[in-house]
């Protein structure tokens, strides 16, 4: 009988420093594995665990650095510099939409707000009917949601996890007659620090750092950080491994070149990074859909100022959601007010004395994040050579998407006014605020769509999906219903890029379910991939 022991703390990681100091590796080295997983976030960690548990020799490659949870400082500014993609500066080509993404061991699961939502049955049934994804029909996939929910300790917020910000949202909803409910989160005994976005130093957030990665390691999976995969090696229509460079995370200098020979390659870099890698690898994309159909689920944050000090940044970051409009309009509202630094990307805070007064209102503020459903018309493209090329993320709101954002911002503002807000700051590049509902519409009407909606709303996205969509038709989809890239045997995708169409739900839980589903499909086809 095999004894499997999970490390008490942390994850065994080979980082750039270890590579440099290991004479056996040197400037160039090769490794063999059954399965190489690119990316260690929500999708990659689950696949790695499942494959390692099944007895496969698994290697995980993560481009970001390893930041053990014990080293988290709860300083958002420092965290953004170290483990957010491009220091929380990953933008679209017009530099007005922020794509927030973690780039570290554990990926975005480390910096997320822990909101876990399961798409409505109608959404999953739609995927089954419209894209031939029969395995994702509600009755088939529900057990996997349940399993992952148990593994990640997903549960509904209790009363003590509803902070002052959330209470204002509840108050507003009650007066407006809107339906609300506590959110479900993947947290164990939340310490109510409010620093989710800076990583959880006490390991209460069930991120990949404390769940699937150490579990995978317990089954023998090996993890390299600081390792940027440049391309997937493909021979005769079959994936044979990957090429990568190991970079010093502080200087960016390449310290070693790496080659991994593997029977199966699983790409799990997320909505932005996965299509970039597949494009660099020049896969034969018959559908022409690789990097396209990106849904961003844009969100803006509406800030309300109340008469009494709320200290709305204390307690659990996300308390409640407003579900009144989720099915009907595709709007999702969640309460939340993070650290002071985060306010800088949410609206226009004035300059000089006005800015200082705005910041001094911090303790009187509450925030609502207003997400809206988009049309999935974004794209991601790699340009230039393998090492020094660059990405282009294209998405600007269409007129309809712009109107949706305006409407969701207006609803969120009304919730705060109903809860007694003295003032609401609107999430715009131009400084706009309203002191009552009568001013609100007038202020919102000043936000002019202009050219492609550029520099109108301060839009963020944390939930983008769909750039390598899954489906049965190889001329419409990039990835088969098994998760395998059409035309390349042994090359799988297991992340948010699989999601076939825009959805109005936080995708974290779905991504982990899809990863487990893909891992099961790989196992089901083991005889065609593995010798034994």
């Amino acid at each position: 009988m095999r004894i499997v022991t999970v490390p008490r703390d942390g994850v065994p990681v080979t980082d750039a420093r270890a590579v440099v100091s290991d004479p056996a590796l040197g400037k160039s080295f090769a490794v063999q594995a059954d399965v190489v997983v690119v990316g260690s976030g929500a999708g990659g960690s689950v696949v790695a665990y499942e494959m390692a548990k099944a007895g496969r020799k698994v290697l995980i490659l993560e481009s970001g650095r390893y930041q053990p949870s014990a080293s988290f400082t709860e300083h958002l500014g420092d965290t953004m510099t170290q483990i957010y993609r491009d220091q929380a500066g990953q933008f679209n080509t017009t530099a007005d939409v922020l794509f927030v993404e973690g780039t570290c061991v554990g990926g975005s699961t480390v910096i997320g707000g822990c909101v876990m939502q399961q798409p409505d049955d109608a959404v999953l049934q739609g995927w089954a009917d419209n894209y031939g994804l029969k395995g994702l029909a509600p009755d088939k996939i529900q057990p996997t949601f349940d399993l992952l929910g148990e593994q990640l300790n997903v549960r509904v917020n209790e009363a003590h996890e509803i902070n002052a910000t959330a209470h204002k949202v509840i108050q507003g909803c009650e007066r407006m007659g809107y339906s609300w409910k506590p959110v479900q989160r993947n947290v164990k005994r939340c310490a109510l620090t409010g620093h989710c976005l800076a990583g959880c130093p006490s390991d209460r957030k069930m991120s990949a750092l404390v769940t699937h990665l150490p579990w995978a390691a317990a089954y023998g999976a090996r993890l390299f950080s600081d390792t940027h995969v440049t391309r997937v090696m493909i021979r005769n229509g079959r994936a044979t491994g990957v090429e990568a460079v190991v970079r010093d995370p502080d200087t960016g200098n390449i310290v070693s070149n790496m080659r991994v020979d593997a029977n199966v390659v699983v790409v799990a870099g997320g909505t932005v990074q996965t299509p970039l890698l597949l494009q660099r690898s020049q896969i034969n994309d018959r559908s022409g859909q690789l990097g396209r159909n990106m849904a961003v689920q844009p969100f803006v944050q509406i800030m309300g100022k109340f008469k009494e000090p709320l200290y709305g940044f204390r307690g659990a970051l996300v308390g409640v959601q407003v579900d009144e409009f989720q099915k009907s309009d595709g709007f999702l509202f969640v309460s939340g007010l993070a650290e002071p630094e985060q306010l800088m990307v949410q609206g226009e805070q004035g300059a000089g004395d006005e800015h200082m007064e705005y910041m001094k209102s911090y303790k009187y503020m509450a925030g609502i994040n207003a997400f809206s459903l988009d049309e999935g018309s974004g794209s991601v493209e790699w340009t230039g050579d393998l090492i020094n090329g660059s990405k282009e993320i294209k998405w600007n709101p269409s007129r309809r998407e712009f109107d949706n954002i305006t409407r969701s911002a207006g609803l969120a503002a009304r919730i705060f006014f109903s809860a007694g807000a003295e003032k609401v700051w609107l999430p715009t590049f131009k400084k706009l605020e309203a002191k009552n509902v009568f001013e609100l519409d007038d202020q919102l009407s000043q936000v002019d769509y202009g050219i492609n909606g550029m520099y109108t709303y301060r839009i963020n996205t944390f939930n983008s999906h769909g750039t390598a969509r899954m489906g049965a038709d190889p001329y419409q989809s990039v990835v088969s219903p098994d998760g395998e890239v059409f035309g390349v045997s042994g090359l799988y995708v297991a992340d948010s890029s699989l999601i076939p169409e825009p959805m109005a739900y936080a995708p974290h839980w779905t991504v982990q379910v899809l990863a487990k589903y893909v891992a099961d499909r790989i196992q089901a086809r083991a005889s065609s991939h593995f010798v034994s």
Binding site: V6, P7, R8, D9, T73, E74, H75, L76, G77, M80, T81, D86, Q87, G89, T94, A95, L147, E150, N153, K188, A191, T193, G194, H195, P201, S202, D203, R204, V210, T211, P214, W215, A218, F313, R314, E339, P340, E341, L343, M344, V345, E348, Q349, A351, G352, D353, H355, M356, E357, M359, K360, Y362, K363, S390, F429, K430, G450, M454, Y455, R458
Partner: protein, 196 residues
């Protein structure tokens, strides 16, 4: 008709000095006094004296000026954005870690922001404007065309994030900052292996 001016005897010798020369002299004098005072009272290094590794000299001038305009923190009982909190140095560090493409865009943005006032402020660069005019310029840019709004918001975000990230600014907001250690929250470590 020419106008005759009579200079008092005690001012003899000052006539050749233009107004600009007087101002320059005043500036040099006040700089000397400031330097002396700052040494006397142990003031920290002025931002101009710090070493910046990633921003160019011109960029540093623009960032310092904009920091002063955006964040008049001392007036509001908060640590100075130029002398207490190393805002500009923080910006410099962040710039050092930017991808090449982003860095190039930022350089362009700073150049445009610095030189945009040449059109409307009599060929003066932003960093050479007096504070009132510089403030007017920033506000006008914020209300301007979409690219002006974007440019201003980007630079404002860069600077203000690098001020408010400093824990010395937080007591002024009644923001407690990190609490896990203060509260003695126990670390749970890794989750146990699932049973299934």
């Amino acid at each position: 008709m020419s106008k005759t001016t009579h200079t008092p005897a005690f001012m003899a010798g000052l006539e050749p000095l233009s107004r600009r020369s007087v101002l320059r002299g005043l500036a040099v004098g006040s700089m000397a006094v400031t330097t002396g005072c700052s040494r006397l009272f142990g003031r920290k290094e002025a931002p101009e004296a710090l070493e910046y590794k990633h921003l160019t000299e011109d960029e540093v001038r623009t960032v310092i000026k904009l920091t002063g305009i955006l964040l008049p923190a001392e007036k509001h009982g908060l640590p100075s954005a130029l002398n207490d909190v190393p805002t500009v140095k923080n910006v410099d560090t962040m710039v050092g870690q930017m991808p090449k493409q982003t860095r190039e865009l930022l350089g362009l943005a700073l150049w445009v922001f610095e030189n945009r006032p040449m059109v409307s402020f009599k060929f003066r660069r932003f960093s050479k404007l007096d504070d009132d005019k510089a403030r007017d310029y920033v506000l006008a840019m914020q209300e301007g065309a979409f690219f002006e709004r974007g440019l201003t918001s980007t630079l404002k975000t860069l600077i203000t994030v690098n001020y408010w990230r400093d824990s010395r600014t937080w007591p002024g907001l009644d923001y407690t900052g990190p609490v896990t250690e203060t509260w003695g929250v126990r670390r749970l470590g890794n989750a146990p292996l699932p049973r299934v």
